[in-house]
Subunit: 284 residues, 4 copies
């Protein structure tokens, strides 16, 4: 794996943005291995992502930031640059369903996706052994009617001590309080077991069964204060028919959920996603 | 194409249904080319479909019906038998969008699907030439605020004089009145340009664009009094991304709509669909 | 999970097969929860699968076999009946790639698929810890040019002491000798990382990259003496484009491989597959 | 539809290409609505496509070409620029199968794809009425063993008098002679009814049936001297199973063929495709 910087930026659309930014990189002899652009012609907003080989530049990431500043200011860019040598720190929240956690542990163990797992948090103790086998800290924070506020405070502390950059709800079947959603805005991703916006909320496979749909799906999205209504990162579906019972949907759906969540997490930790209003630009 | 009878039946589940029915067919030496069974284990209802080579039986379809009656009564079957030599009579309703009509005309012209088009009805005159080139009757029934009742009465008359067995709303952008829905219950199929139950009603691609979904779809369903809420026959989706504008969705969606509608129509005219509550059993 | 028997059978097609078999089950009051039939109209061969609730029958599986024998003989059935209380014993062979093994361990650990892992065999020692964490035996049988015959003899002994019913090559990158293929005919399944028959043999993703295909795939099939040419159980594909390098294909392909292999294994251990010539009937 | 120019270019990769080209466009105040870039990191070749609003530039396309020349020469660009006001002239070749032709006529009639049909050529007379209804010229050029050379000479003359820019083999079941392939290199596209490279040549659905595959597909590719081996533009697949006879595959495959061909044609006439060796870069 090569050492790269990823520059993610957006601004109001105008003539010459690409020219400016690509000129800045070219004048320092920066070797661009990936470049993606998108113009939202409705909101007149422009988005871009560049991956630059670190060693092709005559300076480090801090100096890049200093030198790029005038260009960024002229264009009124909202921007960030990340370093592939510092993989994102991720905290994973789970309940009792294992498939998404197992998928993420596999991705981490084999570094199929480049990220760090700072901690696993669960309201159940069931997966402690499996997580600890991986040498990862497992925090059991039980959830009951009367301790939720305290439990979420504990979680918040953990996020901070862990320096969590991304929080993944890997079928964590609890609703995150509004305050936490706002505090970690744009950093919490969820996997919902339906093709949103169909079947928001509880027991989506039951809802799907009742409606008699011929495809079921899963959606990974950013968590906002409104349940299952945040910006969608990725979705996929699988075919079912009249023979597919709810239990079959649950089983078949797991394959879609874990793959969609893994894809979304890759996009997020590789800085491929920009949130724009309630939508996402995903440079896949 | 061989000459066959298709027996479609359902009843409360019990031991011995298949044994009874298959025994009846076997004792008359009936050659079954397709046999499909389904048990709904929630409602305890049983469904079956047999395709029998006509010439393998020692009698015609009327005699089949007479002789099968005792067996059907013993099992309390809801049943029908159809004759491949009498293709279903279909009336197609369209507005201005041509893709679904063109698809159905192609399927009919080449007999890719075995059905007859009894008439095409439109609230616009735009596609008359194209339809009449095919030697098919084109009825222009304009729709305005003040003539809807009369227009639908005219349509109803047409359905009856045409002996329409199936009515296809091929992107007919008008809402069918409740009375007609009930009168032709289980005989009107629609193509809705979204992955239902997402984006019911008007302008679903605009709704999809606003929500930022990553897949768009189309749904063919039976029409009931409740808008876009009838039993689903088939659905499919296609991938979109942040770059896909509403106009692109409209364009991409057409490919899905016409294929899904054609599949649904095939299922219907080949007697592969049984409506059960608000769902369908589709022996595809 | 209910206790069921699965009857899998095939014979030359004739009138009355379903009638006979369903009559036999019905007369003993057998409650059929799944029934699937297929006629191969080219070879005139008939296939069927019944799942029967064990407790609905007045006798056990041995008595079923005795009593069914005359019926089976009259129809010249090739048949087997299995007991859900005795899950299939599976031996998994792996090399260094972990994704398929991890997937199978997850399926086994959570009993998402009902089967037993009798042993894991590898030509490398790398995954010992992970397998042993699961409480499963790990056998390291190294493969070198000069010990292959002895290594495969050792493997054969293991298959027998393990009473292996199914052997899964979970990206086991060694070619199984002809004798073993024959000895375990219809019991070894492989996952090949291409959409067969495209790209047989080594480095299929490199071949796919060179050819410039726009979809890549994976195929699970029974192993025969001819490389990658056995009966196909399941396949799937994923979209790629000009941007997808070989390494990306390897990475993307893993998601397809593991899901296809898991589906195929489910079909096999749930007695849903009948091999017919070089093809399969899969009652999915 | 807006009036745009599409600039398609490629060259050996080096630092500063995007900077150069985007600077050229920006300095003339060119409004870029689509910009796509691709680096082939194996061959070190760089590809790009820009769509520029015609009216945003202070000069016309001829002047653009003159002024861009120095920039293009410095970068050693292989490039072309096209004008949306001059849709591509397409000649369609068909045999007896109607589905692809009907699809293309629909796309042209509704301008779902922006192109002109200069002529339809067939070795049969069967579709003359349907084509002539559209007001398009239909040329019947029969093919027999002893007149092929003359027939292809006639075709060549037609291509030239038609000023054909793209030639589409819409299930034209004849092999194009090597000389024509070379003369019209990069301008003839074919739809092959298999998922290439599987099942090259005649009767691919028969081959697929024999092999027992679980998905069948279609491939649109540029025609070269080697049968079914040219650069692939697009592919897709559809699921089949043990129940799918060859005739069913033929029928199901048609839906895939026509959609894949239409997608490929769109890419071609919208200048989204660059041929690179035996592969394509498709800026979809």
């Amino acid at each position: 794996m090569s050492h790269t910087y990823t520059l993610l930026a957006s601004c109001r659309d105008r003539v010459g943005i690409v020219s400016h930014v690509s000129h800045f990189i070219a004048q320092h002899n920066g070797w661009i291995t990936e470049a993606s652009y998108h113009t939202d012609s409705v909101s007149h907003w422009f988005f871009m992502r560049h991956v630059i080989v670190a060693d092709s530049l005559p300076f480090d990431i801090d100096e890049f930031q200093r030198r790029f500043l005038p260009c960024a200011e002229e264009l009124n860019l909202q921007w960030s640059i990340s370093d592939s040598a510092k993989p994102k720190r991720v905290v994973v929240l789970v309940s009792k369903e294992e498939h998404c956690l197992a998928e993420l542990l596999y991705r981490w163990r084999t570094q199929d996706i480049r990220f760090e797992i700072a901690a696993v948090i669960s309201n159940h103790g069931t997966m402690r052994d499996y997580v600890e086998f991986h040498g990862l800290p497992y925090h059991h924070i039980p959830m009951a009617q009367d301790n939720r506020q305290q439990a979420y405070a504990e979680m918040d502390t953990l996020f901070q001590t862990c320096q969590a950059e991304v929080i993944v709800l890997a079928r964590y079947m609890q609703i995150i309080p509004e305050e936490l959603c706002q505090q970690y805005q744009g950093r919490i991703i969820n996997i919902h077991h339906s093709f949103l916006p169909s079947f928001v909320g509880a027991r989506p496979y039951h809802q799907a069964y009742e409606r008699g749909v011929k495809l079921i799906g899963a959606t990974s999205h950013y968590v906002t204060g409104e349940l299952d209504a945040g910006p969608i990162i990725d979705q996929d579906v699988i075919r079912v028919n009249h023979d597919t019972l709810v239990d079959d949907m649950v089983r078949l759906g797991k394959d879609v959920e874990k793959i969609v969540l893994a894809r979304a997490l890759r996009y997020v930790v590789e800085d491929r996603v920009i949130i724009h209003g309630n939508k996402t630009v995903v440079f896949s």
